[in-house]
């Protein structure tokens, strides 16, 4: 199977990128962060999905544990999701920012002042938003995802570009060993 035909184009043009980021800033983080209409038939990188499962990891004792979670962000790229020859993709558990999170922390997350985490608005206003921690990545069998996940939101183009910026900013940042 080829890649989805209606995926976002690659960001190759600096002027386009600049305009997209400006557009995002001008619209604010709530309005325009997600597409007004989205496809429920296909999954894309950056989708917020609902999926009842656990986030598995190796704990301090070497045991494999799972933390219950039901809202996730698709980290794997769109093309890999639709390729039949690839069985897995990556998702990140989204942490709900409830009312106990101080306003200062929320404000700084909204200003993207943390390398490891990216803020995602909750347009339903049921919470203060979501945060994706790039140190928490989970592998998932694609068929399970496709059959069981429900899409909550799909990123607009400029939000997707911002998502890329944050991924790159974290994973490709200087590690300081030569400071």
């Amino acid at each position: 199977m080829n890649c989805a035909t209606n995926r976002w184009p690659p960001v190759y043009d600096f002027n386009t990128l600049q305009e997209q980021i400006k557009e995002l800033i001008n619209k604010g983080l709530d309005e325009g962060f997600y597409r007004e209409t989205h496809s429920n038939d296909e999954f894309f990188q950056g989708d917020l999905i609902s999926l009842d499962s656990g986030f598995p990891y190796i704990d301090e004792n070497g045991d494999i544990v799972a933390e219950e979670n039901n809202i996730w962000l698709i980290l794997g790229n769109t093309c890999d999701i639709v390729r039949d020859d690839l069985h897995y993709t990556n998702i990140i558990p989204l942490e709900l920012l409830e009312s106990d999170v101080p306003e200062k922390i929320i404000g700084n997350l909204k200003s993207f002042q943390n390398y490891k985490r990216m803020f995602f608005p909750d347009i339903s206003k049921k919470s203060q938003g979501y945060v994706a921690d790039f140190t928490k990545v989970c592998t998932i069998e694609k068929q399970f995802l496709i059959k069981n996940a429900t899409k909550i939101n799909e990123l607009e183009f400029h939000s997707w570009v911002l998502f890329h910026s944050c991924i790159i900013r974290y994973f490709a940042r200087d590690d300081g060993r030569n400071d």
Binding site: V11, I64, N114
Partner: protein, 118 residues
């Protein structure tokens, strides 16, 4: 991961980072459609790379048939560009404050053991 794979990965990340970050700081327009890169030992060569720059651009690392010293320099340049990307400039103290908050935050999420190490 082999050295070559690391270099290629770094190259892709670096180029993408430059592409993403430079948009906020320059008026340059790059066309990546003709990028062909090859890694020769510790040296990366970017060939058939087309670049159109406008006055005021601060991007000068890409021009046709430019040899760039090492993949590290590509990454370093990319990160410099990211640091110029004011929208996502990070204050290190705030960054650490947020890390500390989440490190000490108690969540209500239940954990269950899937596999006990023996």
């Amino acid at each position: 991961m082999s050295f070559e794979t690391k270099v290629k990965t770094g190259l892709v990340c670096g180029l993408t980072a430059v592409a993403l970050s430079s948009g906020a700081t320059s008026n340059s327009t790059l066309n990546y459609s003709n990028i062909q890169s090859k890694v020769v030992k510790n040296k990366t060569e970017i060939s058939t790379f087309t670049s159109t720059q406008t006055k005021g651009s601060n991007i000068d690392m890409f021009s046709n048939n430019v040899n760039i010293d090492t993949p590290n320099s590509i990454i370093k340049n990319a990160l410099n560009q990211i640091n110029n990307f004011n929208f996502i400039d990070v204050d290190d103290e705030i960054d650490k404050e947020i890390d500390a908050f989440f490190a000490h935050r108690e969540t209500n999420k239940q954990k269950k053991i899937l596999y006990k190490r023996t």
